[in-house]
Symmetry: C2
Subunit: 282 residues, 2 copies
DNA sequence: GCTTGACTCTCAAGCCACTCGAGACTCTAT
DNA sequence: ATAGAGTCTCGAGTGGCTTGAGAGTCAAGC
């Protein structure tokens, strides 16, 4: 029987954490002295604690761990998770580097503070059909995964009936998690066409309305110059008296090619309408 | 002038976040309508916001960012941070993989649940001198950095007067951050010797007391079997009626060698005293 | 038996960077 | 006039703990 301090040393877990786990009913001491309230632990309890720590390190929340333990999860299942986790980490590293590239781009924008923005062009875009899939993706990696599937499967299936790859950001939360994205291809296919990806996601054709006035900017790189483009766009809108009218579209004029290292070329299209700039009372 | 929603789209930052930044006084709208309370932003404000986001992505807290901005930090300084941050990420990846290896080890311990623990040996250890440095390190990477310095500099300086590399974990917080570690070498040097590392840290010689009863376990790998060793130790202590008496020492009988891929061999030494196991009233 | 100091207890609050919801306005298009 | 989208404030919630106050407990040494 160990008091909490000694047990903490054996388990290599802070005392406060042991108490916390007891409080939330995740890991109870073997006994609690009814008079003093002192917690007493035994070495035999270590495996359960270790199981908890493993699952935690694998990214589960404490609630999920409680669930898993009461379901008597097997070591093999945990092994599977370990493999999964490894993949996730590699993915996370990739995302992290992506983010750094974005930071670099932002830094460039800051340096360009004085200089002109990127050129904004007004267009009008006709109605078109859009073979697309809309989903709220938990992370960037998932988004890219599905995108990869689409690129593998769809051109083969529909060939020349597909136009540019296009994405629409519906949600307004710009963190990289839980993004509500619609992506797919411009197309000539009938409105009732639909197709299924290997991951069982279904793409359907829908009508994309015509837009009379569309402000557009071009961007090189999938993410790198994103903020710069939107920034220039904003500046232009302000100076020329326009406002947003609808969801923006990102049209991939050229897809990124990891093999040759060729960057993507993206046209950002934002539906706008002329409107005197908002002027709050002074 | 943009209302918060439009500005949010331009800046690619959620509305809630813009409001939050205004609340904490980090990034204010250009104007606030005194009657309606509506926030109005201008495109010119983007650079400041971007600066904030860059610094945030570089790992600064919002408080630090406020500080940095009021100090008018230069882009060059930020560039330096970017480079630093890149290094940090690489380091973080390394740590992450380290952690995974630890998870794997813990998993092995779970599987060994039924089997015997590692063998525990009782020894007595004489008083000895210890050329060491004690510090609270913010992260594992820093610890390893300083360790690297020591290994580069000290053997050259003191040669055969150095014994085993030894570490003592003083704090009781076992997360990998802010660890209070003392590390150095057993030595014959005089008690008033001290030496300075390239990073300006100072090591001094101090007397390490003799320990009559020291429970020891051996471990292969710098971290991999840590929890397993301590676990076995705990089990043994419980069964044989001993308790912790002082800070544990980790003696590196063999240093890890990244070149040959040779793992470390570590002897964990824990001062103990015989004492009847604690028995709470039932 | 008493003191000292280390250890332990509970309970509440704090941390970070936000997010979410309720309830009340405000704006714009029809 | 009205609907619907956007905005406001304010308070609470998030996760996984840590920190601190104030009180009680334990073991060793005198």
């Amino acid at each position: 029987m160990f008091k909490i301090g000694d047990f903490s040393k054996i388990a290599q877990v802070p005392v406060s954490q042991l108490r916390y786990y007891a409080d939330i009913g995740l890991f109870q001491p073997d006994q609690i002295d009814p008079f003093t309230g002192y917690r007493y632990y035994r070495a035999e309890q270590l495996p359960r604690l270790n199981r908890i720590l493993v699952l935690k390190d694998l990214g589960m929340t404490l609630d999920q761990i409680r669930q898993a333990l009461s379901d008597n999860i097997s070591t093999n299942e945990v092994r599977g998770m370990l493999r999964l986790r490894k993949a996730k980490i590699e993915q996370a590293v990739e995302e992290e580097l992506q983010r750094l590239r974005a930071v670099e781009a932002r830094l460039r924008q800051i340096e360009d503070e004085t200089s002109e923005g990127i050129e904004v062009v007004l267009k009008s875009v006709p109605a078109q059909r859009f073979l697309s899939l809309r989903e709220t993706f938990p992370g960037m990696g998932d988004t890219l995964g599905v995108l990869g599937e689409m690129l593998q499967v769809l051109p083969e299936r529909f060939g020349p009936k597909l136009g540019y790859m296009t994405a629409m950001l519906h949600g307004a939360s710009f963190n990289l998690e839980n993004v509500d994205i619609e992506m797919g291809f411009a197309t000539d296919l009938d409105t009732d066409t639909s197709t299924r990806l290997p991951s069982d996601r279904v793409l359907a054709v829908r009508e994309l309305p015509a837009v009379e006035t569309m402000a557009t900017v071009a961007r090189v790189g999938s993410f790198e110059n994103n903020c710069r483009s939107y920034g220039s766009l904003g500046l232009w809108l302000e100076q020329n008296g326009y406002t947003f009218a609808d969801t923006a579209r990102e049209v991939f004029l050229q897809l990124p090619c990891p093999d040759t290292g060729a960057d993507a070329v993206v046209e950002i299209q934002v539906p706008v309408i002329a409107r005197p700039a908002v002027q709050p009372p002074n």
